[in-house]
Symmetry: C2
Amino acid sequence: MQTKYLFYIIIGLLSNLTSVRAQQVIPSSKLTIQGRAFAESPGFHRVDTTKYHDLPPAVKKLYTHSAGLFVTFRTNSTKLSIDWETVDAALGNNSTPIMSRGFDAYVKESNGWRFAGVARPHLKNAESSFTVVENMEKTEKEFLLYFPLYKGLRSFQLQIDEGATFTPTVQKYDKKIIVYGSSIVHGASASRPGLAYPAKISRSINADVINMGVSGNARMELEVAKMINDIKDVDLIVMDCVPNSSPQQVKERTFAFVQELRKAHPNTPILLIESITRQIGNYDQKWKERLQEQNANFKTEYDRLVAAGYKNLFYIPTDHLIGDDYEGTVDGTHPTDVGFERMVKIIQPEIEKILDLR
Amino acid sequence: MQTKYLFYIIIGLLSNLTSVRAQQVIPSSKLTIQGRAFAESPGFHRVDTTKYHDLPPAVKKLYTHSAGLFVTFRTNSTKLSIDWETVDAALGNNSTPIMSRGFDAYVKESNGWRFAGVARPHLKNAESSFTVVENMEKTEKEFLLYFPLYKGLRSFQLQIDEGATFTPTVQKYDKKIIVYGSSIVHGASASRPGLAYPAKISRSINADVINMGVSGNARMELEVAKMINDIKDVDLIVMDCVPNSSPQQVKERTFAFVQELRKAHPNTPILLIESITRQIGNYDQKWKERLQEQNANFKTEYDRLVAAGYKNLFYIPTDHLIGDDYEGTVDGTHPTDVGFERMVKIIQPEIEKILDLR
């Protein structure tokens, strides 16, 4: 009997050994971090916040989140895994852990990037490991991997088959678009990182669409405009910054913000977008009134800018932005993938028109 | 100076006292739990699992989740808050805490239920309190409140304005539909409880659509069919139970499951739905093959049932069920609100046709 058990144990060990194939580790240092305005930002931050020390402290912290950042590479591996660490394990109550602390991957096809898989984060630990996709054909493919939206990414490495090819790539884009905004631009509450609306538009029109969203913020501080003025070769600046600006702040800051941007971007088109119609205002009269006042003031300031002779300004009103059935948000404020899909249907054609992409 | 500070402290206290208005507590016992097949189920369970002791243990546990359950009531309160406790504080990594452990509320309008707000759960404690909506006009409105989808609800109470009217209501429906299925029916990964597809269809066609989804399960065990046979006055049974059934199980169990249902529901229409096309199978060849085999076997069994003389069977293939752009799921398996919206666009017209609702 004992010999028989020993035999089964040995067979078991051998089959385990053969099923755990050796893996090739690709450190993050081999890859080019893309999707950010300032290539020299430390680690996986969007902005070198030591350089822009006059930004509000909350905004500085938010620009250490890896929202909108991604890497691309070619490999013929049959399996792709990621080990990574975020600055902490905290989660949001209105979003998925995959969106805030995970990754999603896409593969380049002749008609664009196609979804391949996600990395789901550990719910209690800042460190996670996950296999994004396996059992793939052993053909070389180009992958795009979006970083977590709502958290600083501390480190990551890829794991692919031992012996698989690996070539880091860099995407080339004809146009660069800066999207400055609130939690909605930041990505709440897309279900996964690549479904934030700047990322969706980026894949759809093949442009470098930079996510400058700062959750709970985007109150048009002049320091932010000055920072945006350091970004070179910008083809379009999107100002989706009404939601967290009080009606008074919209009134006081919109003109000055655009005026400041014009110092470095004299002719760059600027697209001003009203706040989406927050569905919490369906019955909450205070939210409803605040929203109407915010958007009315934004329109007044836009009209004042135009009257003052500013050119190349464009405007999208709140109408229909997240649809008309009241089912476009998770919580009355933050669009779901449904809300983002509807926003893109209105915003993207406007961008294509402005940039003459059609 | 001290007198002046004392004055400010008193003013501060007074203004706090007036802003914290007295609240009226409505215990859950005043309300009728709706949206479940068995009214006599204990607490907020969907099924009395002591009665159906032959169900697989995992399935029994899942039928203690409050998926699909809701209450309705009229009030003229300007504010609606909920205090509640779930069986534990655990969360999923591919869904929002609002969906798994929170509530969402709707108000009845002349053209249907309109979103009003959500209750966001505490992320670490099983006990939560949240104000769903406030600053409402003091007119009487009817509210619908969906329970958490992915957790047992232990207790809840409502808080409304002191002196506000309160009348529990019960919805009347012409049609009762049982939807038996996997995590997708259960609600993963809608952003909030009311956006699970049975709930969406329920509001849309004003039918009693019962969520019998069991995450990670729905493998067509005969014990489940026997339980469904105890449900009275059923107008339609939906079988969306392919995703977790192996190709072999689909082959072995589909015919017998329908045969069993026909013992108690001899003429009730049964709608068989293929598994959605899991987008993890875009590149994972094993998932892709498994899915094709599952659905092919399901179709074969449907054809066998029809050939054997079973009537009133209907069939929806996987084609286009979650769209064709690969952006309908959070993780390659579970539809987001986008995926559910697309599924409903195909499933609902079929249901309306079967039930002659048009």
